[in-house]
């Protein structure tokens, strides 16, 4: 039994290494304060023109913030690495020292100052109201008592306080807000001017109205972990960029040609033609999603099989462990497990776990909890005479389990295993929250780039569906093969 477990652990380790080797196109692996002179920047690349993924081209992250960061890193003699993640995960990434600094159109607020240090302000943006053409909302006063959408964790949350009795809807992503607007879920959305102009340009049914710059003049700044030694040199470098006019040139560059999507198409309706140049980028996400599914399914199956053996073991400690394990992993949300593993592992162990490995681990661990029960059922369903026949031939327990009982158990539970794989393909979309460029993440990126809220989702939805269909037919072939002994 001991060598059975150690062999399984070796298998697990191999899977982990495999997962670690996965190269995610379009996303650089974060490694905060790594050896040498590299420096890692956290950003949420769905906010053109500050930062977005140049999906039509090579998938690089580009934008005003990137240019500024590159210029500063250059001045200070660092090599810049970019770690994409969701906006509301950025502060956590700083605190867990997963990244050295954050530039992501992040404005200075009192609340944020509690957890991070800020540089001087490098850009002051104003906000705009985006609403449907015939709404007639031109100022904050018009929005009294209306339903208003803002991005969660953004500075626009504060702007809403200028509205009388607002009914505020906070969503993670701006494309979702725009979609909510179009679906009449909100009456207006408040976003930053450059972003608002982009959406108004790409969607003929939207109009924008400027909000006069309010009191304190909040602006965007670079965020650092509390007490970071980088704040000072960054401020100095930033000042130099301001003084010699470089910063202004960059601003002009990005805001002068900001209408990346252009204004094509008339009125409402769907505009898939605008997605044409992004298809390559989206399709590369299939590779990431499939690879991820494969790794977590394999890991989940191996670990689940071990857990199921624990549950059937005579050793009370093993039985207790696997019971508690299953109960915890089934009893808490997967998204929470994912976030915990991704953010807690670096903080607790100092090992900067790459996003895809963290995701593979979280999904594998979670899936194993479910599969261990399924496999246990499958093993119990194998006629006990099989066990007796194997024992009476002098076959050792381990060989009997792996070569006699398991193959029959797996055949019994194949439909359930296929279910689990299909679920994994779809659940894999959760990894986009930690910045893995899977299909779902890529849909978000294209949403941001094209200012189209709906179409990229439809395209990606269709791809998921085709993936699941393909998986199901492969499973059917496999099942037929296994049933040849019937």
């Amino acid at each position: 039994m001991d060598s059975l477990i150690s062999r399984a652990l070796v298998a697990l380790a191999c899977l982990c290494v495999l997962a670690g080797c996965l190269v995610v196109p379009g996303a650089s692996t974060p490694s905060a304060a790594a050896a040498g002179k590299t420096i890692t920047m956290g950003t949420s690349p769905d906010y053109p023109p500050y930062e977005n993924i140049d999906a039509a081209a090579g998938g690089e992250i580009v934008g005003l913030d990137i240019d500024i960061a590159l210029a500063i890193a250059d001045k200070l003699g660092y090599e810049l690495k970019i770690a994409p993640s969701d906006f509301d995960g950025l502060i956590a990434a700083l605190q867990s020292e997963r990244v050295d600094f954050v530039m992501s159109g992040m404005s200075v607020t009192e609340e944020r100052k509690q957890s991070v240090d800020f540089s001087d302000i490098y850009y002051v943006a104003s906000n705009m109201i985006v609403s449907l053409k015939d709404s007639g909302y031109d100022s904050l006063d018009d929005l009294a008592g209306k339903k208003v959408g803002v991005q969660l964790g953004s500075t626009q949350e504060n702007v809403v306080s200028g509205i009388e009795k607002p009914d505020v809807l906070k969503l993670n992503k701006i494309p979702d807000l725009i979609q909510a607007l179009k679906a009449d879920r909100v009456d207006a959305v408040i976003v930053e001017d450059a972003v608002a102009a982009g959406y108004a340009g790409a969607n003929e049914d939207l109009k924008i109205a400027a909000i006069p710059a309010s009191d304190e003049g909040e602006g965007y700044a670079i965020a650092f972990p509390k007490g970071s030694e980088l704040t000072e040199p960054f401020n100095k470098a930033l000042q130099e960029l301001k003084d010699d006019g470089t910063l202004q040139q960059m601003i002009d560059k990005w805001f002068g040609t900001e209408s990346t999507a252009g204004t094509m198409g008339k009125g409402g309706g769907l505009h898939f033609e605008r997605l044409e140049k992004y298809f390559g980028y989206i399709l590369r996400g299939v590779y990431v999603t499939l690879l991820f599914t494969l790794v977590s399914a394999a890991f989940g199956f191996v670990w689940g099989a071990i857990l199921s053996l624990f549950k059937l073991s005579k050793v009370a400690v093993l039985r207790g462990f696997s019971t508690v394990y299953t109960s915890i992993f089934r009893g808490t949300p997967l998204l929470l497990q994912l976030a915990l593993i991704y953010y807690a592992v670096p903080q607790l162990t100092g090992y900067n776990i790459p996003p895809l490995l963290a995701a593979g681990l979280a999904f594998g661990l979670n899936s194993a909890a479910y599969l261990s029960e399924t496999i246990r059922g499958g093993i119990l369903a194998v006629d006990k005479g099989q066990r007796e026949a194997a024992l009476s031939l002098g076959i050792p327990y381990r060989t009997m389990m792996f070569s006699i009982i398991m193959p029959q158990a797996v055949k019994n539970i194949l439909p359930a295993l296929v279910n689990e794989c299909v679920a994994l393909v779809k659940e894999s979309s959760l990894v986009s929250v930690i910045g893995v460029a899977d299909l779902m993440r890529r849909a978000t990126v294209v949403q941001a780039n094209t200012f189209l809220a709906f179409e990229p989702l439809l395209v990606v939805g269709a791809i998921y569906y085709v993936l699941v269909l393909a998986l199901t037919s492969v499973a059917r072939l496999l099942e037929r093969r296994m049933r040849r002994s019937d």
């Binding site: 099989q386 007796e388 026949a389 009476s392 031939l393 002098g394 029959q408 019937d486």
Partner: protein, 240 residues
């Protein structure tokens, strides 16, 4: 060969074996008979520790099975067992059923094991079935494969647990013929059976069990001509 001393077995409160003692000689063929529920199968299953006796000792070839330190897996390689319901491995072909244990447990080369497997299949009359799956075989064929599988390990003893009870009547004969053939070859065998005619012809010794006690142990001639106990006489009256 086999020395059984005062073996008892209880399932909870139910006492199935109440102290059985006996000795089986090398090459002896024992038929174990008795009414259902008498503990025949439990006794047989104790001999390779599929059931662990509650008390008593079992010594096979000088090795005490009931000693917790004994490597029972190794001992079982020398004690074959044939079950009422065959228990062939359904996901393996007939040949793979045969060579699994020799190749995986004893480390015998595949080619060598296959040669031996073919010979044994010929012996049980199933050489043409080597590559089919068990689901394609009749009950009698399955049982003959199971016997061949057990012989692949070159056992010193073979335990037969009601080998013909799950078979259609017309298939009983072919299986009994194989077992009879083995009995003549000098293999030590213990057979739990309801086939009185077969027991009389093939066995060297008859054990009559009732209520978990070994009531009679005698030659077939003596047992079937004149049983010593009234219980055995009544049993024979019912089955003959």
């Amino acid at each position: 060969m086999i020395k059984v001393e005062n073996v008892t077995k209880s399932f909870g409160k139910l006492e199935v074996l109440r102290g059985i003692s006996t000795t089986v000689e090398r090459g002896e063929v024992v038929a174990i008979i008795g009414p259902s529920g008498s503990g025949k199968s439990t006794f047989l299953r104790c001999l390779n520790l599929l059931e662990v006796p509650t008390g008593g000792t079992i010594v096979v070839d000088g090795v005490e099975l009931t000693d917790p330190k004994t490597d029972i897996t190794r001992i079982r390689q020398r004690i074959g067992m044939v079950f009422q319901h065959f228990h062939l491995f359904p996901h393996l072909t007939v040949m793979d059923n045969l060579i699994f244990a020799p190749t995986r447990v004893k480390g015998i080369a595949k080619a060598e094991a296959r040669d031996k497997g073919m010979k044994l299949l010929e012996r049980v009359g199933l050489a043409d079935k080597a590559d089919v799956y068990p689901s394609k075989l009749s009950g009698g064929q399955k049982q003959r494969v199971a016997i061949a599988r057990c012989l692949m390990m070159d056992p010193d003893v073979v335990l037969f647990d009601e080998p013909t009870s799950a078979l259609d009547p017309e298939m009983v004969k072919e299986v009994l013929a194989v077992i009879r053939d083995l009995a003549h070859s000098g293999l030590t065998m213990l057979i739990v059976t309801h086939e009185m005619k077969f027991a009389r012809e093939a066995a060297d010794t008859i054990y009559f069990l009732d209520g978990g006690v070994l009531l009679e142990r005698s030659s077939p001639e003596a047992f079937f001509a004149k049983p010593q106990t009234e219980r055995a006489a009544r049993f024979l009256e019912q089955v003959l």
